[in-house]
Symmetry: C2
Subunit: 619 residues, 2 copies
């Protein structure tokens, strides 16, 4: 299957968009009219540019408001169509998209609409191009794919076919059962877009909130498989109107788009391997399936000298032991239970999550999958005897490693282990989750990236009114809940999370006894985040926990959440360095969330503590 | 009337919000529950902080999901209510807001709901507080103000009254006729919010897109006047949930909010002077009415040496004459027709609109109005014999002056005029409009600012899919169309308008003969922006102008728009310095727009020209 992208998906000038699409590996493009209008290149020069980049021009779009209008307007429409078909010919676009009419002049008359479309196809054929007719979900009369399909069959012209667009069909809950029966020779084009479920006007939803496949809530595999079952031979073409992508760097958005198609194709193979085999060699081989994640091998904090001291002191105060020293670099390994933290002082960062490593049975396969999914491989210097750790860069800049900790040539060999018996810890058993803050314009990209690399699924999605603006929070995890990633980011913000505080990240450690952990932290002088008394008064009013429990929560600055019988306890350190903190969490009765409702209180408390500390430090 | 603001309108911690509200001059606040929960101060300390800032705590909010539930849940609700009423008492909030239930357990039983509300009011009274009951537009059963009013009357308890919220009433097209008849003693609270007309789920609309009065499409004057007619004595209190305001600096948002109330009160006086007089001295005096704007006295471009040379050369090439030199500063005056441009080289800006001056019959009154509307007065150094020009800062940083050019002590006296006869110009007669780009998070604030200062009205509102992201464009103008301001800004963008180009601003000059102007510019070598040939091909297909006209447009790089019989012609220079350009426009048959549909083509052309010039300059 050819892979195509509409230029409207990307930001920039037409030249920017074509370069980005080619660099991401697309085979073709849909050229959006407004992109061409603003381009100083002639249509022939654009065609030449595309050819030079290895791109076919799959479609010119859109032409509108044609069918079922009175004669006088029809004459003007035909003149306009002649201009556009000639332009498409000059561009080398074999097909022109015609959308169902939204014109007030249009009338509800299928016989007339079919006659008009037949006439239009005749004009198109004269120019050597074809018409792909599409029902807009907000068309004046033609709104369903079935009605557009009927008109195409009724008009019965070889230069007229159907364009199916997943958004227009799925947004209105269209019935896709019949698609597979539509005659293949009249199935001219397939546009793909995903979207979140939103309760809003469908036109606005379409124009602003489409997403690449796999980033939203639509069943794109089910939809696409039916179109392929009909015998569709054209490209899988993305047409995504999205306010965020419209202003993102086009090279990066094009890679995100291509990744979404690779993942969709993988889903199609999984959905129906036999059909995929029949489609045969035309389809590129799917990437290696994800090697099941078995948890976090380690999390690496990038620190400088000062923040490194602070983080190390906090690790010690929270029960971690400094068990190893890297053979060649200023890198320390700390451990408690199965939770490992690497402090990397090779850079000048004031404490941030620089990397994490996923424990997996087959690190090589995971790395191959990551590169097949277009994850940028990071360069890495290593000593002669050191492990070959492949890492890739996530959209948020975090480096992701793939490890088998127990392997003979595993990464632990890079460290000189002290061999000292570990001191008594604070009850931490493992890393529960990582919270990675995302730039507001990389949120959907990051979700698809992490999900597709490790085979994770969304577990939870929230939008919070936090003290310094709206915050999105989305968790992704594997079916075994061994790798939990919490992605969060501001929905809209000029500048950082709060005045003078960058978006914080955190590492959450799991404990089986939160109050023991809390007592140990207190005894050892860990910088525990103070929770306001008002929070506990509200807990009392809202959830009425047992008085003894409430008193313990209050005494130990532990946050609390309840979901049915399941309970969640969590406490935080203050922010270490400039943007990272530790959280200690206990889950009971299968609690699956992240205490998200407590996040605004935590944010305000972090801001207050941070401001206090800075004030204490300043001369 | 007291003026109040809900803390939920503002960004930051509760302490930040209270300080901002007090600094902007509010008399009171509604305290939003989540703000209190996240606050380290006890309720008593918050009360003390408010008192110290001169703020009363008008309302504690919200309490939810109370009325018409089964007995067991009712018992739990009463316990919860007891906690919250006690909290309100400690806070010094005399009133607690109770919203109509959205709980799935609620039943459709007004008799039960009234009983429950009566019981609730009894508990409130025991704590010395009152309950203000409000119908949410998305309540499960109680959605209209009429139904909430009926329940209040039916429950009939002195501690139970009605809260009216303009959003909940106006968003669903509620009938406001009966409000004036509601008994004043049971009208406990009035929350005000405006909003744009949006076709979306009302809850999402309410939570994300409310605006301060005067910034949206609701008739707040009509609504508020009816509430006042009923005899309402409480505060006018703003409750605005807005994604942008939620993340804006709270001090600035509070000033914007206060300005909106001043403007609303002015509207109330204009709407019904007799009623306003009856309300009497309690109301602060409204600001002086706007002195009608008579056009632009001048626009001032801030330049440095290099960009100043470029702008001066372009002014000369576009028919302007350098007619004067400032007596004490490196400031030049250029003129053509009634269009005056001041080049101010006292700073280091690489060409931008630094200021503009509004021609008005009574500059002193305009300046007094501006300060009454909380516009920050700018400091200004002036020589002994120089005119006393008051200027204020607009939200986008532009300085706004008020002038009477013909006055004996007018600003022209600050210049030594050359007295030379002006050379033949290029047909420019006046400044047609200024386009001032706004930061994305100051758009609504800027609109209200400019409108309220000069008595302008919105004329046009558009959202464009431009090459580098969505762009909003809103024109405001006086009834005589002598002062046209075009405010534009990106809807969402990390960084500037396009890679490496700051958001451009422009000065549009009016001409009566665009082709004569264009020919003159070309003859004199002005840096005219090239328009792509594809644009004219599309004009031909779309509007089919006469071939001779099309040829002239194409030859002279003139953009074209048509609205019925009205026509608009405009051509642009390239960007001068780093962010400003000139536009030359001709309006025929009363064309009232700005050729907005052409903006994306212009933007791409500007970006291309800018990139080309930078490439040519770099070594």
């Amino acid at each position: 299957m050819r892979r195509s992208i509409a230029t409207v998906c990307l930001s920039g000038t037409l030249e920017d968009k074509l370069s980005a699409a080619a660099a991401a590996g697309f085979d073709g493009v849909e050229i959006f009219e407004n992109d061409l209008l603003a381009c100083p290149l002639s249509p022939e020069q654009v065609a030449e540019r595309c050819a030079g980049l290895g791109l076919t021009v799959e479609l010119y779009q859109p032409f509108r408001d044609f069918e079922a209008v009175p004669d006088e307007l029809h004459r003007r429409n035909l003149r306009r169509a002649g201009h556009k078909f000639e332009l498409a010919r000059r561009l080398g676009a074999g097909t022109v998209l015609v959308c169902s009419s939204v014109a007030p002049e249009a009338v509800d008359d299928d016989a007339l609409a079919a006659r008009r479309l037949r006439a239009l196809a005749g004009v198109a054929a004269d120019h050597g191009v074809r018409v792909a007719y599409e029902a807009l979900a907000w068309g004046r009369f033609v709104r369903t794919w079935e009605r557009s399909a009927d008109l195409v069959l009724r008009a019965d012209h070889p230069a007229l076919g159907l364009c199916l667009d997943s958004f227009h069909v799925l947004s209105v809950g269209g019935d896709i059962a019949g698609i597979a029966e539509f005659p293949a020779e009249k199935l001219f084009f397939l546009q793909l877009a995903d979207a979140p479920h939103l309760r809003m006007d469908v036109l606005q939803w379409s124009r602003h909130h489409r997403l690449f496949p796999g980033q939203g809530a639509f069943d794109l595999v089910g939809f696409t498989s039916r179109v392929l079952a009909a015998g569709y031979q054209g490209p899988l073409s993305l047409e995504v109107f999205n306010d965020v992508f419209r202003q993102a760097p086009p090279g990066r958005a094009a890679v995100d788009a291509m990744r979404s198609l690779i993942v969709l194709e993988e889903g199609l193979v999984r959905h129906d391997p036999a059909a995929a085999a029949r489609r045969g060699r035309a389809a590129p081989p799917p990437p290696a399936p994800a090697s099941a994640p078995e948890g976090f091998a380690f999390v690496e904090l990038a620190v400088d000298a000062e923040s490194g001291t602070e983080v190390a002191r906090t690790l010690a105060a929270t029960g971690f032991a400094h068990i190893g020293q890297h053979r060649s670099k200023p890198v320390q390994l700390w451990q408690q239970g199965d939770a490992r933290v690497v402090l990397n002082a090779t850079g000048a960062t004031r404490a941030a999550i620089g990397a994490f490593a996923v424990e997996t049975g087959d690190p090589g396969r995971s790395a191959r999958r990551a590169t097949a999914l277009l994850a940028p491989v990071l360069p890495r210097t290593r000593g002669a005897a050191e492990a070959d750790l492949t890492s890739v860069a996530a959209p948020d800049g975090t480096a992701v490693f793939f490890c088998r900790t127990g392997a003979p040539d595993g990464w632990l060999g890079d460290f000189i282990l002290s061999g000292m018996p570990e001191p008594a810890g604070a009850g931490v058993t493992a890393i529960d989750h990582l919270a990675l803050s995302q730039p507001f314009d990389a949120f959907d990209e990051a979700t698809l990236f992490y999900r597709s690399l490790f085979g994770l699924e969304p577990e939870h999605d929230a939008e919070l009114a936090a003290p310094f603006g709206l915050v999105r929070s989305r968790a992704v995890t594997d079916p075994g809940r061994r790798l939990r990633l919490l992605l969060d980011g501001t929905v809209l913000r000029r500048g950082s999370w709060a005045p003078a505080v960058p978006d914080p990240q955190h590492v959450a450690f799991h404990t089986d006894d939160i109050f023991r952990t809390a007592q140990t932290l207190r005894d050892r002088g860990a910088p525990i985040l103070n929770v306001p008394a008002n929070y506990y008064d509200d807990l009392d009013a809202r959830l009425a926990p047992e008085p003894a429990l409430l008193a313990a929560l209050r005494e130990h600055d532990v946050f609390y959440d309840r979901d049915g019988d399941a309970e969640y306890f969590h406490l935080c350190t203050e922010i270490l360095g400039s943007r990272v903190f530790f959280e200690f969490v206990q889950r009971s009765s299968g609690y699956a969330g992240y205490g998200t409702a407590n996040a605004p209180v935590r944010m305000a408390a972090h801001r207050a503590a941070h401001t206090r500390r800075r004030a204490a430090r300043s001369p």
